[in-house]
């Protein structure tokens, strides 16, 4: 039994939590799925390796999971940041979730937001050089080429909304695409609707997205929707200093303003 499994077992034995949300083996050897461990003897189901990419913080808000009682979440860095961002948005309260940080040495349960903040202070932030290069490569294209690129990407969208389903920040009980009076986004998969949907998603996550990449991982058409989020995250950071998910005391960048915000594009 490894450290993660032992920690989960201890938490369940002490009744500190009712369920441990973690990664388990999927239907194929290369696949992983979320597992909900509720008994100490089930702890060996928990695994962690590079294939475990899903952002499990997503489950914390689900009514079915909440009904189980207090949860512990196996958390990679993006998952920890998600928890703090959910706290900023008043979706979870302090000490209601235990985070089990993985991928950085020992698994020491983080029981409150202060502990998560402290842990994240020592983790590198921002986008990797490779991610920045990908963004710069698209930005350096001509306008027509950018349009052609996104047209070919978004034409593959089948409107399955897997990106929304995988996103821990997409927790609206009624999403704009379910609004049909008026019908904002056409239901069938067509170019206009695909563009509108992906623009809406990116804009609604602007300044909130913690860039876990779960949306792009979930996309069955392998559309690089994470690049739209990355662009807006970069802009929100540069223009407003938005760094979602690093502190529970930070304002949402688009819910506030500065009289000195840039406006040379407005005449």
């Amino acid at each position: 039994m490894n450290e993660l499994q032992q920690t989960a077992k201890d938490l369940l034995e002490k009744n500190a939590v009712a369920v441990v949300i973690g990664y388990g083996m999927g239907s194929e050897p290369s696949l992983r799925r979320a597992v909900f461990v509720r008994k100490p003897d089930q702890a060996p189901q928990l695994i962690f390796d590079e294939s475990c990419r899903q952002n499990l913080a997503f489950y914390v808000l689900k009514p079915e999971v909440k009904a189980l009682g207090k949860a512990a979440v196996v958390a990679r860095t993006p998952t920890l940041r998600t928890l703090l961002q959910l706290a900023t948005e008043n979706q979870i309260t302090d000490e209601s979730v235990v985070a089990l940080p993985v991928g950085n040495g020992s698994v020491q349960p983080l029981t409150n937001f202060a502990a998560i903040e402290q842990y994240l202070a020592n983790v590198p932030r921002g986008f990797t050089a490779q991610e920045q290069q990908e963004l710069a490569a698209i930005k350096s294209k001509t306008l027509a080429d950018r349009w052609a690129f996104w047209k070919s990407e978004l034409s593959r969208c089948i409107k399955c909304y897997a990106c929304r389903a995988a996103c821990p920040m997409c927790y609206c009980s009624k999403c704009i695409v379910e609004v049909n009076q008026p019908q904002w986004v056409p239901v069938p998969s067509d170019m206009l609707g695909n563009l509108e949907w992906n623009v809406i998603r990116a804009m609604h996550l602007a300044g909130r997205c913690i860039s876990c990449g779960s949306c792009a991982d979930a996309c069955p058409a392998h559309i690089r929707i994470d690049l739209l989020n990355q662009l807006l995250a970069t802009e929100a950071m540069q223009q407003f200093g938005a760094e979602p998910g690093l502190s529970v005391r930070k304002d949402y960048a688009l819910a506030t303003f500065k009289p000195t915000d840039k406006e040379e594009f407005i005449r």
């Binding site: 206009l192 804009m203 005449r267």
Partner: protein, 154 residues
């Protein structure tokens, strides 16, 4: 063939720009008739979706205009809108949508002349760019006719 006449949709706030445009009219100033104005309570109400909808319904250019900073009837609506526009413009540009077709402006209720000048300028720019055919349309005449020509089986 007649010269292309662009359709420009203007999303304006009720308190400043709409009143400003009213002044343009009452002052008997002439300006391009290509603009269709849509009056909303505040620039803070102008959802970015409305802009995409305008393009989707056949607009070739868009004007978004409201009160100058500090003049908002609701104190801060235009400041919030400005932040949103900053990000939205970056996203449009990244997605390959031509920013020369989307214009933002502050026009106060006293700036009737500025409104006329703005509309004329935008219409001229968009006329030079030509129709925005690349942008996917919601239901154009062709697809409408196709839809109507489908025989429904009994």
């Amino acid at each position: 063939m007649a010269e292309f006449e662009p359709k420009v949709v203007a999303f304006v706030c009720n308190w400043c720009t709409y009143a400003g445009a009213d002044l343009t009219g009452t002052s008997r100033m002439k300006y391009a008739t290509n603009v269709r104005m849509i009056r909303l309570p505040c620039t803070g109400r102008i959802d970015f979706m409305l802009l995409l909808q305008a393009f989707g319904h056949g607009a070739d250019g868009i004007i978004v205009s409201g009160c100058h900073p500090g003049d908002c009837h609701y104190s801060a609506g235009n400041f919030h809108a400005r932040r949103r526009w900053m990000l939205f413009r970056e996203l449009l540009d990244f997605a390959g949508i031509d920013l020369r077709r989307v214009h933002f402006s502050w026009v106060s209720a006293a700036e009737g002349a500025k409104w006329a000048e703005l509309v004329n300028d935008v219409v001229n720019q968009v006329r030079a760019l030509g129709p925005y055919d690349e942008f996917p349309k919601r239901l154009n005449r062709q697809s409408l006719e196709q839809l109507c020509s489908v025989e429904v089986g009994r």
